[in-house]
């Protein structure tokens, strides 16, 4: 199998373990990624805060490049990039006014025809059976909280992915690894997203509620599919505990890292040493067949 690849900015910086683990897992599952040549940032939260036109034009440039480079299907593992690409695509298809303005700004014609996949739909395409039949590590005692955040599932009318209030597709992927998804309340609550720098206190409070609920429902790990969610739950966790004492730590893994672990892939190659919250105790407990709570 072969897919076009839109890594997005985070995956070459603060979320490089997302990129590393995804590539490692896909190599194992005989799937190739072909990166879009000269892709640019999708604009993330900042473009749509400044100019609606810009929030469509930046993703449009990437969709046009993908098409020119002969791609039909592209993977955008970052939930924010996935969201911006899909929303732009929707607007270009349904709003002639914005399409004309975008084409004028980019000085190129836009034509549709790219299918944009997120991390979960990528694994659905590859086939969960393939993950299940290759799982090598015993995950039967591992309780996983699947955290979707906002941008994978909202706005539902445009993304048409899973259920916006109670999605379950990530749980299906986690079950294929042999782990047990927990039933919890905060899987689509917001972590504070891009306010991480401008309003750290908001992010700490929102993320704390997510961490608390996962721990309450006996999760050993939270699994995510978004670099922003990861950085808010992982990097901010130390200060969350410092400012709100009496809490336990919980490691935050990308879904691709969890799959890689189940396939028995090298921990370093999955970037499991790159987190702020140490993943070593969790990994050690897996080999002892007893999971740390």
């Amino acid at each position: 199998m072969k897919f076009g690849y839109y890594p997005g900015c985070s995956l070459s910086g603060t979320a490089k373990e997302f990129d590393l683990s995804l590539k490692e897992v896909l190599k194992y599952l005989d799937t190739d990624l072909l990166e879009i040549n000269d892709w640019c940032c999708c604009g993330a939260s900042s473009a749509h805060s400044a100019s609606h036109l810009l929030s469509v034009a930046l993703p449009a440039r990437n969709l046009i490049l993908a098409k020119e480079q002969g791609m039909k299907e592209i993977v955008a593992p970052c939930a924010a990039c996935f969201n911006r690409l899909k929303v732009a695509q929707h607007e270009l298809q349904n709003d002639e006014h914005i399409r004309i303005n975008t084409e004028e700004l980019l000085d190129t014609k836009y034509s549709d025809g790219i299918n944009v996949l997120n991390l979960i739909s990528l694994f659905q395409q590859i086939g969960l059976e393939k993950i299940k039949s290759n799982a090598k590590v015993d995950f039967s005692k591992l309780n996983v909280a699947c955290y979707y955040g906002c941008l994978l599932v909202r706005p539902h009318d445009i993304l048409k992915f899973d259920d916006p209030e109670n999605p379950t597709t990530m749980e299906e992927v986690v079950k294929a690894t042999g782990a047990k998804p927990v039933d919890w309340n905060f899987k689509v609550e917001c972590c504070g997203a891009a306010h991480s720098i401008a309003h750290t206190e908001i992010v700490e409070n929102l993320s704390m509620k997510i961490l608390d609920d996962a721990i309450n429902y006996k999760a050993n790990v939270i699994v995510v599919a978004c670099p922003m969610c990861h950085s808010n739950l992982d990097m901010r966790q130390k200060n969350i505990i410092k400012h709100n004492p009496g809490r336990n730590k919980i490691p935050i893994l990308y879904l691709s890292q969890l799959i890689g672990l189940s396939l028995g892939l090298d921990h370093k190659k999955l970037g499991l040493d790159l987190h702020f919250i140490d993943t070593a105790p969790l990994i050690a407990s897996l080999s002892e067949n007893e999971v740390a709570v």
């Binding site: 640019c40 940032c41 400044a50 891009a194 750290t200 990097m235």
Partner: protein, 182 residues
């Protein structure tokens, strides 16, 4: 959707969002589920109400429009299929266009610093973003505790990943934003 009887601000909102704020019947569901409502001055439905009542200045000077995290919980739950998140985007854009000082300066400075990285490199450059944001806000020591770990783990690079077509990206951003991020 041009209409001579519509106030220019409402017309701008309609043009930017393809939806009319008059459709909101003030049930308050958006505010009930908003994760950042506790930090707002005005709740989301109140900001919509300001616009409905013609109190444009109150809406455009509201902190809420800058603190909205864009999570779209409101948009996905609105029984009228109105999208408050899109509406908040439009108000931010209009406020900047009209030169109204943002009630929350940090958020706007963050977005400006972010767009600057894309202008210069075509992609986001985290070290540059943090540098520009710190210089703009004077918060030089923020997150100083997280920085060494991030750098040691190689998660924050020292050089930007520049794309070939940066000139084009710069012109796209300049034309689309037209000084709105000042």
């Amino acid at each position: 959707m041009e209409n001579n009887h519509v106030h220019p601000t409402i017309q701008k909102i309609i043009n930017l969002t393809n939806q009319n704020p008059a459709n909101c019947y003030q049930c308050g569901k958006c505010s009930a589920g908003c994760p950042v409502r506790d930090y707002f001055d005005d709740s989301p439905n109140r900001v919509i109400r300001f616009i409905q009542l013609g109190l444009y200045d109150r809406a455009l000077k509201s902190k809420a429009i800058w603190l909205c995290a864009g999570c779209q919980t409101c948009s996905s739950r609105c029984p009228q299929n109105f999208e408050p998140a899109k509406f908040m985007d439009a108000l931010r854009e209009i406020a900047s266009e009209e030169g109204i000082a943002p009630s929350d300066k940090n958020v706007k400075k963050f977005h400006k610093a972010f767009l600057n990285q894309i202008k210069n490199n075509g992609r986001s450059f985290e070290l540059g973003l943090i540098r520009d944001y710190k210089l703009a806000t004077g918060k030089l020591f923020q997150d100083i505790d997280a920085a060494p770990t991030a750098i040691l783990k190689g998660k924050i690079g020292f050089t930007p990943h520049k794309i070939k077509d940066t000139k084009k990206i710069k012109s796209i951003i300049d034309k689309a934003v037209k000084g709105k991020t000042k």
